[in-house]
């Protein structure tokens, strides 16, 4: 069955069907992100204190520029199709894919940075805050120490040659600092030249420890939800663009007009993803 109005505009709407469809889809996307943004407003206005300077503005800015460039290369890829220069289309869409990959790599680095960042509440009331360097575990039976590059909980077991070995946490080493009050960790912008030392903390001193994951506080829950959903959109858009750049380009030989329309529709989605980031960046990194 042939899809109607895949190339020519439909008389009553004035646009081809796929374009109408993508705009309706984008309308539903506006409501999805709009709901999350309104949730952000509600939670932020109701919060007693809000973190500032927890994210690296340089990385956020780099991602903003990368997404803006990718939006431009997407538009140029469509324009190249319009003037029937398929070689330029391939070049511009390859640039878009590379830029999308760069965005995701930077976002992955930021997530990892938060994942290895720990807030450790100590028995003497102080708080140790910093990035984990290593954790020393001890086998209670053999007293054999084991150094791990990440925190694996209070204890863990390994099975080797039919023998189960249990290891218990002995100490944690972080690169960070001590603070007396949790409030000192909130406004990092106001604090310049924060000292960072290697701190070794024995298990007996640790009251509780938690990394900067989405469970840490409301700000991080919102950060991971909003940027995670946005990153999924980047991934989805990249798959579509990759398909058009790869196996989907066969359509160019048989029906270049329809192929060009597909490029336009995928481009509209990509620009929407860029638009969402234009608001996420100031909301999460700058305010």
């Amino acid at each position: 069955m042939e899809i109607p109005y895949a190339v020519q505009p439909r008389p009553d709407t004035g646009v081809y069907n796929a374009k109408m469809g993508i705009w309706l889809f984008l309308a539903s996307e506006v409501m999805l992100f709009g709901g999350l943004f309104s949730g952000y407003v509600l939670l932020r206005v109701g919060a007693d204190q809000w973190p500032h300077g927890w994210l690296d503005v340089r990385l956020g800015t780099a991602n903003t520029i990368i997404l803006a460039l990718s939006a431009i290369t997407t538009l140029l890829a469509w324009a190249a199709c319009k003037v029937r220069e398929f070689g330029k289309f391939k070049f511009f869409h390859a640039c878009t894919l590379l830029l999308a990959l760069s965005f995701l790599c930077i976002k992955g680095y930021e997530y990892h940075d938060k994942w290895i960042h720990y807030e450790i509440k100590l028995a003497d009331g102080r708080i140790a805050d910093g990035h984990i360097e290593s954790a020393i575990y001890l086998n209670p039976a053999t007293k054999e120490p084991l150094e791990e590059r990440s925190f694996r909980g209070n204890a863990f077991s390994t099975v080797a040659g039919g023998t189960t070995n249990t290891y218990e946490l002995a100490s944690v080493t972080i690169e960070g600092r001590y603070v007396n009050d949790e409030k000192d960790l909130y406004d990092l912008r106001a604090q310049k030249n924060i000292p960072r030392d290697e701190i070794k903390i024995p298990r007996a001193q640790i009251k509780s420890m938690e990394n900067y994951g989405p469970w840490h506080n409301t700000y991080l829950a919102l950060y991971f939800t909003l940027t995670g959903l946005h990153a999924l959109h980047i991934l989805g858009g990249s798959i579509v663009i990759g398909y058009l750049w790869g196996p989907g380009r066969r359509l160019w030989k048989t029906n270049p007009e329809q192929f060009t329309n597909r490029v336009e529709v995928s481009g509209l989605f990509w620009h929407f993803v860029d638009l969402v980031w234009i608001f996420l960046y100031p909301v999460l990194y700058l305010t």
């Binding site: 705009w23 309308a27 409501m31 803006a68 070689g87 007009e257 860029d274």
Partner: protein, 124 residues
């Protein structure tokens, strides 16, 4: 390379292109427009960063947030207007967007309205 050859075989405008005068394509003019858009985005980002570092004594957080979001809106307008062709789109698309804006604004308003609706003594 075979794709490139295929593309060069019929170097004529698509049928129906003249029906969309706003979307007539000239690659060089598009590149020029893209350069302007990119410069505008870089300027907007620089302005937002500058605004976020304004001294706290003279600019409180609500003023800063308002200024930064105003710049972000201008940035979004440039991207939507020129990259998504919203400045020269069909009436049907504007109609869809008008409904979207209405419902999104209503959702935001409901959130703000709900914030005034806490019973006394509620903490959140």
């Amino acid at each position: 390379m075979s794709d490139l050859k295929t593309a060069k075989q019929h170097n004529t405008p698509f049928p129906g292109e003249s029906e969309l005068p706003g979307h007539t394509v000239d690659l060089k003019s598009y590149i020029r427009t893209c350069v302007y858009v990119f410069i505008a985005v870089v300027c907007a980002v620089s302005l937002m960063i500058w605004a976020s570092y304004l001294p706290q004594e003279h600019f409180n957080w609500p003023a800063k947030v308002g200024l930064i979001l105003a710049v972000a809106c201008c940035n979004a307008f440039v991207v939507a207007g020129f990259l998504m062709h919203l400045i020269s789109e069909r009436k049907m698309i504007y109609t869809v967007l008008a409904f979207t804006v209405f419902f999104a604004a209503a959702m935001m308003w409901l959130t703000l309205y709900a914030m005034q609706d806490f019973p006394a003594g509620t903490t959140h």
